[in-house]
Symmetry: C2
Subunit: 193 residues, 2 copies
C-alpha cells in the first residue's frame, strides 16, 4: 500500500505539481481507500513530506554536482535549487513543512517527518562536503549551508526579492566563508574550479 | 468595514494565534457578512497579510531597537524575531505569504500584498539602517538583512535545527559583514554585486 501511494503521489506531482491534487485523488490513483491514507499519514502534507524524504534519498544515487571544487559544487547546486523553487508550486515542500510543524506544535510533540527530511537533505549535502574535506578544503557544516544558502534561496522566492538581491555566487561565497574551521592558509583562495 | 474586519482579526490573533480562526469567525466578530470578506480579500490568507502589513507599519511608531550601534540593534531585533517565530503559529505569516504566492502564481499575476509586506518591513528596518549610516557605520542593504538574518531565523524554526546552528550573534555578525564597503558619504550609489 505504501509503495502504491508513494507512486501515485509522485505521478500526480509530476503532472500537476505538489499542490495540485487532493488526498482523494491520490487514493483513487493508488487504488486504496481514502481513509487508509489519513489513517496512515494523518494528512496529505505528511504524505508529501514522506515522499519528499524518499525523493531526497534517491538523490543520493543520482548524485549531487561533482565539479572538483566546493565552490563549483555549491554554485551548481544553488542554481538548481533556485530553478526548482521558481517553478509553480516550487515552495510547496516548505509549505508542507510549515503545515506539519503547525500540526505537531498543536499536539505538543516532535516533528519526526521534518527531522527525517532534514536528515535526508544532510545526507545529500554530506557527499559534497565530504569530497571537499577529502580535497583538503574546509567545508562549512550542514547548518551553515542551511542558514546561508538554502534559507535565502527560499525566502527570496517566497517574498519575490531575488532579482534585487545579490547574485547566487555571493551566497555561495558567504556559505564557504562560514566554515567553522580556522583558516591557517589564507592564500588557499585559489581553489576555484 | 475594513477597520472593523482588521480589528476583529487582530483580537482573534491575540486570543488564538494567527492560525486559530476562520473567515466566518472574523465576519461574526466584525459584524459583517462572511461573503463581504471573501469579495474584498479573496481569502483569509490575504486578509492576514493585509493585517500584518498594518501591524508592521505601526511598528514604525513603536520603534525598533535603538541601542546606539548597528550590532546592538540587530542583536536585539534578531532575539525578538527568534522569540516571535518560536511561539505557536509563529510561522503563520510565512505560511500566509506562501499561500498568497501560490494563489497569485496560479493566476499568473503579481503578488501586491507580499510586496506591501516587504515594503512595510523595509520601512521598519530602514530606521535601524539609517541611524547606523548617520553614525558613520556602513550598514548592509535590506536584501542582505533578509538573506542573512531573517531567512535563517525562519528556516531554523521551520526545520527545527536552531539549537544545532550557530548562535544569533554569528548571524548578526555575518549580516553586518555583508556591508557594501562604501565609505564615501555622498556618491555612495549602492549597487549589489
Amino acid at each position: 500500500v505504501g509503495q502504491a501511494v508513494h507512486e501515485a503521489v509522485r505521478s500526480l506531482m509530476e503532472e500537476r505539481g505538489p499542490g495540485g491534487f487532493t488526498g482523494r485523488e491520490v487514493a483513487e490513483r493508488a487504488g486504496v481507500n481514502e481513509a487508509t491514507i489519513y489513517r496512515r499519514w494523518g494528512s496529505l502534507d505528511n504524505l508529501l513530506l514522506d515522499v519528499a524524504v524518499n525523493v531526497e534519498r534517491l538523490n543520493e544515487n543520482s548524485p549531487m554536482p561533482d565539479t572538483g571544487s566546493l565552490r563549483g559544487d555549491l554554485n551548481a547546486w544553488a542554481m538548481s535549487i533556485a530553478e526548482e523553487v521558481a517553478r509553480p508550486d516550487g515552495l510547496e515542500l516548505l509549505r508542507a513543512v510549515l503545515a506539519a510543524r503547525a500540526a505537531t506544535d498543536a499536539r505538543g510533540d516532535r516533528a519526526p517527518r521534518i527531522l527525517a527530511l532534514l536528515e535526508a537533505r544532510a545526507d545529500s549535502i554530506g557527499g559534497v562536503l565530504a569530497r571537499a574535506e577529502a580535497r583538503g578544503e574546509s567545508p562549512p557544516d550542514l547548518f551553515t549551508v542551511l542558514d546561508r544558502l538554502i534559507a535565502p534561496l527560499y525566502l527570496r522566492e517566497a517574498f519575490g526579492y531575488g532579482e534585487m538581491a545579490q547574485p547566487l555566487d555571493v551566497l555561495v561565497d558567504n556559505t564557504i566563508a562560514g566554515t567553522p574551521r580556522i583558516h591557517t592558509d589564507t592564500d588557499a583562495d585559489t581553489e576555484n574550479g
